[in-house]
Amino acid sequence: ADKFKICWSIYVGWMPWALADNSGIVKKWADKYDIEIEVVQINDYIESINQYTAGAFDACTMTNMDALTIPAAGGVDSTALIIGDFSNGNDGIVLKGTDNLKDIKGQNVNLVELSVSHYLLARALESVDMTEADVKVVNTSDADMVAVYGTDDVTSVVTWNPLLSEITAMPNSYQVFDSADIPGEVIDILLINTETLAANPALGKALVGAWYETMALMEGDSPEAIAARTFLAEASGTDLAGYDAQLDSTEMFYTPQQALELNNSKTLMETMESVAEFSFKHGLLGDGAPDAGFIGIETPTGVFGSPDNIKLRFDPTYMQHAADGKL
């Protein structure tokens, strides 16, 4: 049987892969299509994407923005196999001592530079007619964000859960902007190598099948679902309440239909355009990129950018199979 490797890192929307792997669901689906799938957890998110980009994995979890700026910009033709969720408050901007986003002017903002946090900040500033030039961005590692926030010289941070909820729980802290204000723009996907997928449709089917079975298992209040989420909570280093809180600010697509709705909508295209523009402005599309459309992005509603250089594809085929119950 053909062997494949996928990787994921610790984040609320990707945790289900831990369950899928641990409960044997992945194996079950792999067996069904007579392939082997190895699921690998990688602690460091960026490292997981780099590994995927370098070819060490066939598929990997990441956000839409990182999918564009790392693998796609690195020349790896990739397909969004599963749209798992979008961040609906999971990423946010926190200020100390004020609940007004405008007060951010002139402050040092601690965030992981060039990540979705950076993008969120850019969108937030736009909403109050400011630009990045109005603040000073300080690159800060995500693992240390909570500790850093405790110091006096840090007055504003942009980060994601679970760090976000740790930070907002601290006194005198106000979440002034979050991803719920730009719904559907920060999307968590399972990205797969287009060539591999084309050559091995069985892999796509097995992964999608496993994913939605896992989704079904963890949704709701049945004892099985509670047990499943407790398992995920512990795997991400928190407890059930903590994990459920993270889920609350995540728009999980428990069914393929929900995911398809976003995938096939016009908004996806607009979102990707805005992401591409942001990325281009920050030099993330590579030095050869003359404009934001240098890398072509294919969506069901059309192609953004150069049609000759399509490297990122939103392809609903396999999710559609799942929706149609044809797996």
């Binding site: 690998v40 990688i42 602690n43 590994q51 060490a56 909570v146 405790g150 760090l163 740790e166 280093g237």
Partner: protein
């Protein structure tokens, strides 16, 4: 009154003096902790000893709900295995390289500059490449330790080899020894205790590399756990883990020191 430089404490007061700073540290810590918890009972930076005790109890003596393992011991085992393997490889490679460059003029000419340059490269900066080359499994973590430590050990062993009086090499030759015999009977046995010493010296960097590697790609290990709970700033787990690492480092050092004494009675 004696001059300060001549004033030596008795054995008992020396012990007391040695313990004093630790006691002071503990007192300062609990005062700081109390003060912060007073203001904000949910403060996580300086947990009380009771909170740390709870955390240890949970990690070390209750099976994980998720996997049924005792996380603390599982982490310890994984980390020690990686560290041990990495140091073992580094020591073996370092010995071979250092012995050759130290004893063979031809090897020295060929490899000494390379080893010097490699020893200056910061291995952390090369992590991405390392992970690509060695994959993300145990190999890459062991490899980071090995790559980080080998040049240091190789250079130390080279220096030590050069320190062995050339008289001994000449003497061995006048007794008819060939190069292989000089290596196996004269140089190697004399370098083993020095190798252990140099493993002891580089063990600190070994821990650093281990923790860094586990932070990036791992699913267990002491470094992994620290970085995992760092997102929630669970200092009640981090501090006991740091203490435990310190203790392990101390015990390993002690073990190696004793081994050296026992195995090589002629050394020092």
């Amino acid at each position: 009154m004696k001059r300060l430089i001549n004033a030596a404490p008795s054995r008992v007061s020396a012990m007391a003096l040695g313990i004093l700073p630790f006691v002071l540290l503990l007192i300062i810590y609990s005062m700081g902790s109390d003060a912060r918890l007073e203001v904000n009972p949910n403060d996580k930076l300086l947990p009380s000893f009771a909170q740390m005790g709870d955390a240890i109890q949970r990690m070390a003596f209750e099976p994980s709900k998720r996997t049924g393992e005792y996380l603390f011991w599982q982490d310890t085992l994984s980390s020690l295995t990686r560290l041990g393997m990495g140091m073992l490889i580094a020591a073996s490679l370092g010995l071979v390289i250092g012995l050759s460059t130290g004893a063979l003029p031809l090897a020295r000419a060929g490899f000494s500059p390379l080893v010097t340059v490699i020893s200056l490269v910061p291995p952390l900066a090369l992590l991405p490449i390392l992970f690509i080359v060695f994959g993300l499994g145990e190999v890459s973590k062991v490899a980071l330790i090995a790559i980080g430590i080998t040049p240091a050990i190789a250079r130390e062993i080279q220096r030590r080899t050069e320190e062995i009086p050339s008289e001994q090499i000449v003497k061995a030759q006048t007794l008819g020894a060939n190069t292989a015999q000089i290596f196996s009977r004269v140089l190697l046995p004399q370098l083993l205790p020095r190798l252990i010493d140099s493993v002891r010296l580089t063990m600190g960097s070994g821990w650093l590399f281990l923790i860094s590697a586990e932070a990036i790609a791992s699913t267990d290990g002491l470094g992994y756990r620290i970085f995992l709970v760092r997102r929630y700033m669970s200092m009640d787990v981090i501090l006991p883990y740091v203490f435990w690492i310190t203790l392990l480092a101390f015990l390993l050092d002690l073990l190696l020191r004793l081994a050296n004494k026992r195995l090589f009675p002629w050394y020092q």
